[in-house]
């Protein structure tokens, strides 16, 4: 919209921001600092700050232009502009793995990943990169329950199979060498 105006912009000579845009744009996607600054700046900014800038800046650079033209205080909510909580998928994975471990006969093999991913999701929540900590807790709890049930089942099987009568009854109809 304003792109064709940029080359012939009468204010361009007096505007110090324009030359900075091309050089400033590539820095932000690659720079990790915005992520570490996330907790310092509450996530209320992305929603509030986003609508203000497009009017003042070229829509061609929806994520880059605001940083170049904005005062320093507004540059920090940048990571929230595209995706407010980029690590929310971790908790969803944790919950899904926890549920799947109950569908499977032996939940050890998805219960353990559910706990690992869920704990990482909680760390992401602590860093301000995710906001679904409850879902992560659910995934971790489901994973632990699945592990406990699996271990109890294995112990139960081991005890039962040590009993010759049970083993014979269990193998009834089967021809097994084991």
């Amino acid at each position: 919209m304003s792109t064709p105006n940029e080359p012939q912009n009468p204010y361009g000579s007096g505007d110090p921001q324009q030359p900075q845009d091309p050089s400033g744009a590539p820095q932000y996607p690659a720079a990790p600092p915005p992520y570490s600054q996330g907790p310092a700046e509450p996530p209320a900014y992305p929603g509030a700050g986003a609508p203000q800038y497009p009017g003042a800046a070229s829509p061609q650079y929806p994520s880059a232009t605001p940083y170049g033209s904005a005062p320093g205080g507004y540059a920090q909510p940048g990571p929230g502009y595209g995706a407010a909580y980029p690590k929310n998928s971790l908790a969803i994975w944790s919950l899904v793995l926890g549920i799947v471990s109950f569908v499977l006969g032996c939940g050890l093999f998805t219960g353990i990943p559910a706990i690992i991913v869920g704990n990482n999701a909680k760390k992401a929540v602590a860093r301000g990169e995710a906001n679904n900590g409850g879902m992560a807790t659910a995934g971790v709890i489901l994973g632990w329950i699945a592990i406990v049930l699996s271990v109890l089942t294995i112990i139960l099987f081991a005890i039962l199979f040590a009993n010759a009568d049970f083993r014979d009854a269990f193998n009834e109809g089967y021809n097994t060498n084991y």
Partner: protein, 157 residues
């Protein structure tokens, strides 16, 4: 040998692969150790399954769900399918656990991507959310359908 449930062994690699690299939030440089160790363990398990036939009843224990309820869980037949695949018997593997046969190529591709990314020192981003939903729907749906008598001839082990 162990009381590991029949069909559980292959399952973990599916969800594990996309998660393991994604779960590390720190900016540490990825190394090849994790994917190569994972691959080695899977290869060893596959060789064991190829040599020691899981078609023999209770050779690897039994599925707790099947023993307790008589229902087939989504992973039932997974060990037998892996054995058949390792022997080159695609039809036999398909008759044991079609979902696992479909999942094996996906797992291999994900593992290959994991290795190639780690070789370049890159970490995978968070696994996409739609992958989690696909996994949930596939596993739960398959577990339900293979216990429906109408579908059992095709889906049950």
């Amino acid at each position: 040998m162990t009381t590991v449930d029949d069909g559980q062994q292959p399952q973990p690699t599916g969800p594990l692969l996309p998660d393991a690299p994604a779960s590390d939030g720190a900016g540490r440089r990825a190394s090849l150790t994790a994917p190569l160790v994972t691959g080695g363990v899977v290869v060893l398990a596959t060789v064991l399954l190829a040599v020691r036939d899981p078609h023999v009843p209770h050779s690897y224990g039994g599925c707790p769900l099947y023993v307790l309820t008589g229902l087939w869980c989504p992973a039932c037949g997974g060990l037998r399918a892996t054995h058949d695949l390792a022997q080159g018997d695609l039809a036999g593997a398909w008759s044991m656990n079609p979902l696992w046969v479909l999942a094996v190529p996906v797992v291999l591709v994900l593992w290959g991507r994991w290795v190639s990314r780690a070789a370049r020192g890159r970490r995978a981003g968070p696994a996409p959310v739609w992958g989690a939903w696909v996994l949930l729907v596939a596993v739960v749906g398959f577990g339900v359908l293979r216990n429906v008598p109408a579908f059992a001839p095709w889906l049950a082990p």
